[in-house]
Symmetry: C2
Subunit: 213 residues, 2 copies
Amino acid sequence: MGRPATFSRDTLQHAALALVDRGGLSALSMRSLAAELETGAMTLYNHVADREDLDLLVVDAVLGEVRVPPAARYSWKREVTAIATAVWRAVRAHPNVIPLILTRRTRSPASLAIAESLLAALARSGRTRRELLIAFRAITAFVMGFAQAEMAGPLSMGQGEQAIDMAAQVRALPPDRYPHLTVMAAEATKSQPELEFRSCLRALLDGLSGTKR
Amino acid sequence: MGRPATFSRDTLQHAALALVDRGGLSALSMRSLAAELETGAMTLYNHVADREDLDLLVVDAVLGEVRVPPAARYSWKREVTAIATAVWRAVRAHPNVIPLILTRRTRSPASLAIAESLLAALARSGRTRRELLIAFRAITAFVMGFAQAEMAGPLSMGQGEQAIDMAAQVRALPPDRYPHLTVMAAEATKSQPELEFRSCLRALLDGLSGTKR
DNA sequence: ACCTGAACACCGTTCAAGT
DNA sequence: ACCTGAACACCGTTCAAGT
């Protein structure tokens, strides 16, 4: 009933992201977001089609933080590395949003810009279309999968308390049944996600630049 | 009130998977599953801790379908390829479950067995622990990420009607803003997920067997 | 011990009404 | 035209009671 307090879609978007960052996905609902914005739940529908649309807005807020580096400075490998790393860091900066990022299909300008710049960088390596598609698939799969693994994989990453707890659990499994896994859980205790990401990505790029068949 | 109809956790698990396979994730709720089993919702809590536990059961039903091949038949690369492909195929056979698989951390025997056998295969290539961890991370990230991309990536896979629609949408973007993406959307029309998965995985394995630094 | 209906505290969204 | 409260059809889960 007429508080003029009409807010922009942009403030809604960032309020939603802030809620998820702070309290996890369960902290975001039409009602909780409306309360945050000091309005009624139904008012949100003036800015957003439905809950799914709100989720996409949150995903896009994260992807919008990706700073795609200016093109073609060094080798194509370095450029691809810069883009992939930028995406991974932005995603990783919002761990609570990762389930949304993994499961929502975005077609926003931010997400298309990332895809386009990655393709442009890869195209500099001289490939047929088919090879370019393969390279694009491999890299995007790896980046998203690496973020996924940090959230849900069997071998914990990083040195947080939670990661160390997880490692301890896996290390405590019967070593005769899981000889490698238990050893690797110990190794994962020294995990440095940034370095591991770089090493994995380098291996992938090496493989993608090898002889074509 | 004593229909004796006590059912096993196993039938509950497969009924839940069947509901998701048939009707998507939204078709599975405590109430819908109970109805399927011709009982009341609260009866489920005799077999399952909570909804999260039910989700894990569904994830595990899929991972339980992975047939890990017998070890050490050919080269380590072929063995790793066999395992990765088996996982990917099982996941892909249940597309509606993918969001759950990506976001739930399982520690079930099925999931641990997969991880252990993948590590065992990789260990045959002769690596330090640190290199083994890197290789494991790269491959699991890739497999999960590839499944994720088929569900939510910008370039559609396969020749289904839906995939073709999606490709058409991306192809219809302004080509001066998205020169590579629009071309690749056309290329993706010929997409053969199985072949692309193999090509990407081969590149990754090539990279992982290259010179260490 | 195992089972289960009623009730509670949430959801997203429709609808009809406000200005 | 924009806003919004009440109400509806769902959720997962607590609680108390059945056998």
